[in-house]
Symmetry: C3
Subunit: 133 residues, 3 copies
C-alpha cells in the first residue's frame, strides 16, 4: 500500500513518525503484508488548509485531524477493510490521536499497478508474491 | 468526497478558503451530499512545481491554475459528473479563477472505502446514509 | 495522466524540472499522448516524511527516492504499463535518479473523469480524442 498522511503543521518529527508507524502496524497486522512493504508520504499543511467536518455524524474534530488515504490493490473483503480501519484508529489512539480525528479514504488498484524499484512491476515479474487476501 | 486542491503559493488564506468553498458548494449543489460532508486538503507549491499544459486544446493557463482531484464513491452518471465539473468551474469563476485555470481529475471508489472517524466505515455500519445517485 | 511526484526537499528547481520532464517523456513515448497532455504536481517533504522501504526485495533506497503516482484512464494492457514503468525508471536514471529510488503507483479512472479546463469533460464532448490504447 501507498499511504498519504496529511496533517496540520505543528507536530514534532517524532510525533509524525509515531503516527506513520501506528498506521503501518495496523496494515501489517490486518493485511499480513511484509514488514518492509512500507510506503508513506506525510504532508504538513498551514492552518485552514485541511477541512474535515463530520459528514453529519455529530462530533467535532480538533486541529489534530489525521487524513489518511490508502492506495492498495483490490480484492480484500469489506470485513477486512473494516478491520483495517478499526486497527488504524486504535493504533492512532495509542499514538495520541483521538478517534474523532481519524479520517480514512481507500482507493483500489491491481497488483500490476505497482513498481517498487527499477521500473519493474514486481508482482507481475514474480519477484514479489502478491499478498494473500 | 475527498478533494485535493493543489495551487501555486501566493494566494491569501481567505482566497484559498474561497476556492475550497466554491468547490464544496458545487458538490453540495450537484450531488446533494450533506453540508458537513466537507473534506478538502489544500497544498501550496513553489513556482514550477505544478505543470499544467492544455492537453492540446489551444489555450494558455496562468500561474493561478487550480488542480482539483476528487475522490468519491462511484455510481454517478457521466451526466452528473459533467454537471459537477461545470459547477466547479462556474463557482471557481465567481471566486476569481479563470476557466482556463480549472483542472479536474476524478477517482472513484465505493461506499465501504470511507471512514469518517473512529475507524468505522459509517456507510457500511448504517451510521450514515449512502448519498443518493 | 495526472502525475504526483513526491520527493525530499533538497534538489534544485532545475533538478526537479528534469525529473518531471523525464517522467513526462516516458509517458509520451509509451502512451503516445499529446505533448501538451502534461499535468504534474511536485511536492517536497521534510526529512523523514517520506518512508519508502524495499517491500522485501532486498535493496536500500537513498534519501533521493522519487515517489511517482500516476492517475490515468484505464484500458491499457499490463504489457503497456510495464513498458511505461521501465521507461520511467530509464529516463529517471538519465536524470540522475538510481533505479532503487524509483517508486511507482498507478491508479485508473475513465475518460469521462477528466476536465482540462472550463469545467468541460473534453474526452466526452469530443473536444479531445481519447488516446489510443
Amino acid at each position: 500500500p501507498l499511504v498519504r498522511i496529511d496533517v496540520a503543521a505543528g507536530r514534532t518529527p517524532e510525533q509524525l513518525a509515531r503516527i506513520s508507524r501506528a498506521i503501518h502496524e495496523a496494515i501489517l497486522a490486518e493485511y499480513r503484508i511484509p514488514e518492509r512493504d512500507y510506503f508513506h508520504i506525510v504532508t504538513e499543511h498551514a492552518p485552514g488548509q485541511i477541512v474535515a467536518q463530520d459528514a453529519g455524524l455529530g462530533f467535532e474534530r480538533s486541529s489534530g485531524v489525521v487524513m489518511v488515504q490508502i492506495f492498495t490493490q483490490g480484492g480484500r473483503s469489506q470485513e477486512a477493510k473494516g478491520a483495517l480501519f478499526a486497527a488504524v484508529a486504535r493504533n492512532l489512539g495509542d499514538a495520541g490521536v483521538a478517534g474523532e480525528d481519524v479520517f480514512i479514504g481507500y482507493v483500489e488498484n491491481t497488483a500490476g499497478d505497482w513498481s517498487f524499484g527499477f521500473g519493474r512491476a514486481q508482482y507481475v515479474t514474480g519477484e514479489l508474491a502478491v499478498p494473500a487476501r
